[in-house]
Amino acid sequence: MKIGVVVFPGSNCDHDCQHIFKDVLGQSVEMIWHKETSLAGLDAIVLPGGFSYGDYLRTGAIAKFSPVMGLVKEFAKGGGMVLGICNGFQILLEAGMLPGAMLRNKSLHFICKDLSVKVENAATSFTSACQPGQVLKIPIAHADGNYYTDPVTLAAMQANAQIVLRYCTPEGKVTPEANPNGSLDNIAGIINAAGNVLGMMPHPERCAETVLGNDDGKLIFLSMLESLKQGKKPLQMAPA
């Protein structure tokens, strides 16, 4: 498979994503500069973490107008898989490719630590290698991960199983205490209604090989590759 990793000015997890797909999973990876005008030949696209455009104005607010984002939108419209991690998730929200917006963490702190997240939907193209309800240990590293959306959109996402990852205790209980940033409904990751665009705040690329002491994050990437192999089409979600 050929995976495209988009590089914005200020991306800093782009090489980690490249390393996992290329060195750990043996795939072909193309680094896509944000001024790129073609995404031909790519099977999936990753918007990596970092601080695109210095987080000026709002996280992801300026990156959404990068020339490459028009192509990423077209790619997703055609059913292509797009994974946004941390700042990549924030960009997907600003670009309107996923519903909602990010607010500053409730504590106002930049939080960088391992957390437990529960796989609430293991039937997506990004989580099919996980067990339903599986608890993954994945680090977060952000100041703006306090997810917000209006009650109508939240209810629709809940009904449609679009809330894929939620912060939980190590035992898998979704509690207010397990919520690191004030995120609505303990949301750590959501998917679009079509099932081919996932945004998540935790960093799976930082825990995807045993040498790092934790490879829980690898399940996300393995799920993607498996889904691509199964016919290059995302698994269909229930209609919204």
């Binding site: 104005l57 607010a61 300026i62 107008f65 600003e94 917006a101 409730k106 106002l108 306090n146 917000y148």
Partner: protein, 79 residues
């Protein structure tokens, strides 16, 4: 014309910075301070002489980039 633009979080949306400042004001003895909201202030020179055109341009700038209307509201004045 110059646009003076204020962007703040919508009422009802938690403003953690505002809360922290409110708490600090309370600690300093300003017991009469409440409901602190933190926002952004921006000035934009708009190369238009017609006020209606400038107004339309600034509104479009706010909607498209300067504010995220899911969580923020904006207001501006033109001079």
């Amino acid at each position: 014309m110059k646009a003076k633009i204020h962007v703040t979080l919508k009422q009802g949306i938690l403003d953690p910075q505002g809360k922290a400042i409110e708490h600090a004001l309370g600690s300093l003895g300003f017991k009469n301070a409440g409901n602190v909201r933190v926002g952004k202030y921006m000035e934009v020179e708009v190369n238009e002489t017609d006020k209606a055109k400038a107004d339309a341009a600034v509104k479009a700038m706010c909607e498209k980039l300067l504010a995220n209307t899911i969580v923020e509201e904006y207001r501006y004045e033109l001079q």
